[in-house]
């Protein structure tokens, strides 16, 4: 690991100031991706801005059918929260399937969303549920937030403070996971809400999470696994690696979508 300066601000605003003053600084949330990346010397930030002492960034609440999860809330807290289980059980299940117990006790929702790993689970939930990403500067619709591979709409000195998820009528997440890393080879989050059905795919796209419009239209008419069974997603633009080639991932999208719809009931 390359050396760095360490900061532990007490507020998100103070953290944003440090980020603004140090262009090569990075935010440290749970650190379950950043620290391994730094250990491999794939990242060498000049400064780490640890959000661990910013008290008001963690916590879960529900109001008027919208679930709000603080950015520093660890996956394990989301997985075991009765509030989440009642409002959006699919989200609790998703959180409980990230990494392993030790990663879940430390890794955070804000870190996952800000990193926008193309195989991370939370981006699929954000897109399918039509989440809003709250930051130190503004509120960003999930549709506008994930802009590409490890890329988001966040400015360099902007910090995610919380994420709001409107509850869905029906929702489920199914992932075909890499047995070693537990990342999604393909993960599909299906949600049926007042505005219609959304199908978001993670793990497969070269540019990260994406929606499958054809499946959404079919499910709007008939919310059943049969409705998506015949819909094939083209392999163009999907990842190929040692774990799965693009054609296999394309096939898995339909399989996972069917299972997610069936699980959503």
């Amino acid at each position: 690991m390359y050396p760095f300066n360490y900061h532990q601000p007490k507020s998100a605003e103070e953290a944003a100031h440090i980020l603004a003053a140090n262009p090569e600084a990075k935010i440290l949330a749970g650190g379950q991706t950043l620290l391994p990346t730094m250990k491999q010397r794939l990242a060498g930030p000049s400064d780490l801005v640890d959000l661990g002492a910013v008290g008001d960034l963690a916590g879960i609440s529900e109001k008027g059918g919208t679930l709000r999860i603080g950015a520093m809330t660890p996956h394990a807290e989301v997985a075991k929260s009765p509030v989440v289980a009642k409002a959006i059980p699919a989200l609790a299940a998703l959180a409980g399937g990230i990494g392993d117990p030790h990663v879940r006790s430390v890794g955070t929702i804000g870190g996952s969303v800000a990193n926008n790993d193309p195989a991370a689970d939370y981006p699929a939930a954000c897109i399918a549920l039509g989440a809003t990403i709250h930051t130190t500067n503004r509120d960003i619709a999930a549709d506008d937030f994930f802009t590409g591979l490890f890329q988001t709409a966040l400015a360099d000195d902007e910090i995610i403070t919380a994420i709001s998820f409107p509850a869905a009528k029906k929702a489920a997440y199914t992932k075909f996971r890499n047995p070693a890393s537990r990342y999604a080879i393909v993960g599909v989050f299906v949600a049926q809400a007042a505005g219609g059905v959304r199908v978001a795919v993670t793990g497969a796209g070269e540019n990260g999470v994406f929606r499958v419009g054809e499946m959404e239209t079919a499910l709007d008419k008939n919310f059943s696994a049969d409705a998506v069974a015949g819909i094939a997603v083209p392999a163009d633009g999907l990842n190929s690696d040692i774990h799965a080639n693009a054609e296999y991932r394309a096939h898995l999208i339909t399989v996972m979508a069917k299972r997610a719809v069936a699980a959503a009931g």
Binding site: M1, P3, N5, Y6, G31, G52, A76, H102, V103, S105
Partner: protein, 155 residues
């Protein structure tokens, strides 16, 4: 270099460290507690699991400076007054190890598992919860048996 202070196994400790010093390096190299092992150093194997403020985490994926003021329990802190912790005793009785390298992490994870999920742990739950702990000898059979017995004994 910053000075980091924390409570390790009930004892106040402090050392001057680089900001990039990992918790596991702090424990092993600065405090001399070498029971916590480094297996993979890539956050996958779980040999370095310790408890920080009651949460089991991988000490190779935590900076020492993040643990300022924290209360840390390592494998050395489990046995009280010379008597093995019930989970350690269960690993001993069920031969829950082969080479023994992963054992500290396995036991720290097992104790955390019982604290989170209770004393009745079925095989499926134990295997699922061991996702983050790798035994390179593949000695899982007796590890699972040990954890089930240890969980009962912790009542």
């Amino acid at each position: 270099m910053p000075t980091v202070s924390m409570t390790v196994n009930g004892k106040e400790v402090s050392a001057e460290v680089e900001t990039r010093t990992l918790l596991v390096q702090f424990l092993r190299d600065h405090i001399g507690l070498t029971g916590t092992h480094v297996g993979c150093d890539t956050s996958q194997c779980g040999a370095c699991v310790v408890h920080v403020d009651g949460k089991a985490l991988k000490s190779c994926t935590r900076l020492a400076v993040q643990c300022e003021g924290a209360s840390v329990t390592t494998i050395e802190g489990l046995a009280a007054n010379g008597a093995l912790h019930p989970m350690q005793q269960a690993f001993h009785e069920n031969h829950g190890l082969q080479c023994g390298f992963c054992t500290p992490g396995m036991i720290m994870s097992a104790v955390d598992m019982v604290e989170r999920l209770g004393n009745k742990l079925d095989e499926k739950t134990i295997r699922q919860e061991l996702e983050g702990n790798i035994c390179r000898c593949t000695g899982y059979h007796n590890i699972v048996k040990s954890i089930a017995a240890g969980a009962e004994a912790m009542k």
